[in-house]
């Protein structure tokens, strides 16, 4: 009796696993959620790149009353749209302590993405605009100012591209 029950239980488990596998098959095959929405990364900005976040220099300023953009250093691995000079670029992200999906506000309404936090070594696909001063009017923390005087890109959309 006990053996019969055990066999029945095993069959049930196999069936359940098979059903789950079939249900998840579309996601596994295409490598992304079945109902994914096309990202805005290819629709906004003037330049689109995939780049490795090489360095986040120093700490973010975490003061709720003050908004700012924070300049980070990237190594470009692919240019999808537009052009950049060289493979090292400097990109300013608005209020970087916030997930990109929550960073937009009244002053900067049209930014976003799915990156939740910035960590050196992460790979991002970004829609950019240059120069930052033409698009953003607010505080900028640029810890590369002494060593780099070139273009600072303004990050409009930032997606994870691991």
């Amino acid at each position: 009796m006990f053996t019969v029950f055990k066999k029945f239980n095993t069959v049930r488990k196999v069936v359940a696993i098979s059903v789950c596998f079939l249900a998840l098959l579309p996601c596994i095959c295409c490598g992304k959620p079945a109902a994914s929405v096309p990202s805005k990364v290819s629709q906004v900005g003037t330049t689109e790149v995939t780049a490795v976040l090489e360095e986040v220099r120093g700490e973010f300023v975490n003061r709720a009353n003050y908004d700012y953009a924070f300049v980070m250093k990237y190594k470009v691995t692919a240019v999808h749209r537009g052009s950049v000079e060289g493979d090292t670029i400097y990109v300013a992200h608005y209020n970087p302590q916030k997930p990109r999906s929550a960073a937009a506000d009244a002053r900067v309404p049209a930014i976003g993405g799915n990156v939740k936090r910035f960590r050196a070594g992460d790979v991002h696909r970004m829609a950019l605009k240059a120069r930052i001063d033409d698009y953003y009017m607010g505080g900028i923390i640029n810890r590369y100012f002494e060593e780099y005087k070139g273009v600072i890109y303004w990050a409009v959309w930032t997606d994870d591209a691991q």
């Binding site: 009353n65 003050y66 009244a106 002053r107 009017m137 505080g139 900028i140 100012f145």
Partner: protein, 339 residues
């Protein structure tokens, strides 16, 4: 008997309080009388209808009246024209939160007579950002991402355009017309108050690190501003914001007023430079999002002044003066005209 004893106690208490009226209070009364007839203040404050309205009052707080009284709108950041005959300010829809750092982008630019009458929308929502008067009152200068633009008020045409040199908020034109000041990104540092030469467009830092709400001394050579210097132990290392006076070239840096435990913003001189008005708030930087903060007036000749215990601030500035502080109603971004 009991009633008699209570009345006696009440009378004795009143006499004691009167006798103990501090000398400071007498000095404050004297300051109030001194400024009472010296023109008018205009400022934003909560009206009885719950929205932000504009108020006029004498500098001692008397003759206060609501000059917008609009339950369907929020008005803020008024500035008298240099001759006092006109006002400019921003008007937002009811319920809009006035952001202490973004108000110049918000709502419509309104021009009105100096007493608030005949208000006219000069542009649409968000247009003419950070508009401020030219010295002759015939133009306004505005701040855009791609540069600074000077508009003729009659034609609304752009008469001049130049680089904003990193300035991102609170742009003001000097009374002599030779300079602009504003809050800027400069040399890799944000929240720097800079001076821009109106003729050449050249920029220099007037004071670096955590500064805002600059305005011109009537002499056009100095800038009054709020500054929260580094290294203050108070507020768990956050520090407190003080009022400073700096020369346009940044060579002179002088504390004007401070008190540990309070953040001082919105500093402005009276038109003759004899008095200083500001707001004083125990919390930092969100007065416009709440109900404003008490406005205060001191004599310029009594500065540098530190009030309260302020042990940390007094260590940094051992030589200061004493003087009365006239405290008025709550307001935000007050401005003073003698006309």
């Amino acid at each position: 008997m009991v009633i008699f004893a209570a009345l006696l106690l009440f009378a004795l208490n009143a006499v004691a309080q009167s006798a103990a009226l501090p000398a400071a209070s007498v000095e404050v009364d004297a300051l109030a009388k001194e400024v009472a007839e010296k023109g008018w203040l205009v400022y934003g404050a909560r009206g009885d209808n719950g929205t932000w309205d504009l108020f006029l009052s004498r500098p001692d707080g008397s003759q206060r009246r609501n000059i917008t009284n609009s339950p369907d709108a929020e008005e803020a950041a008024p500035r008298f024209s240099p001759d006092g005959t006109k006002l400019l300010y921003r008007r937002m829809n009811r319920g809009a939160e006035i952001n202490h750092d973004k108000w110049g982008f918000q709502g419509q630019l309104i021009l009105a007579n100096g007493d608030g009458s005949n208000p006219v929308a000069f542009g649409g929502e968000g247009e003419y950002p950070w508009a401020t008067w030219s010295p002759d009152g015939r133009q306004v200068v505005c701040l855009f991402p791609k540069g600074i633009k000077v508009y003729d008020l009659n034609s609304k045409s752009v008469v001049r355009e130049f680089a904003r040199q990193g300035i991102y908020q609170q742009l003001f034109w000097s009374p002599d017309g030779n300079w602009f000041c504003g809050v800027a990104n400069n040399q890799g540092e944000s929240w720097t108050v800079v001076r821009v030469d109106a003729a050449s467009g050249e920029v220099n830092a007037a004071r670096k690190y955590q500064n805002c709400t600059p305005d011109w001394d009537p002499d056009s050579n100095h800038i009054i501003l709020s500054s929260r210097p580094a290294g203050q132990p108070g507020a768990a290392g956050y520090g407190y914001t003080q009022l400073w006076l700096v020369s346009g070239d940044g060579a002179e840096q002088q504390l004007l007023y401070g008190e540990d435990g309070s953040h001082i913003y919105g500093g402005a001189f009276s038109p003759d430079g004899q008095y200083v008005i500001f707001t004083k708030d125990p919390t930092d930087g969100r007065a416009s999002e709440k109900d404003g903060a008490p406005m205060c007036i001191v004599r310029a000749k009594d500065t540098p002044m530190i009030t309260g215990e302020s042990a940390d601030l007094r260590k940094l500035h051992p030589i200061t003066k004493n003087g009365p502080v006239l405290t008025l109603e709550k307001g935000w971004e007050p401005h003073w005209s003698y006309f």
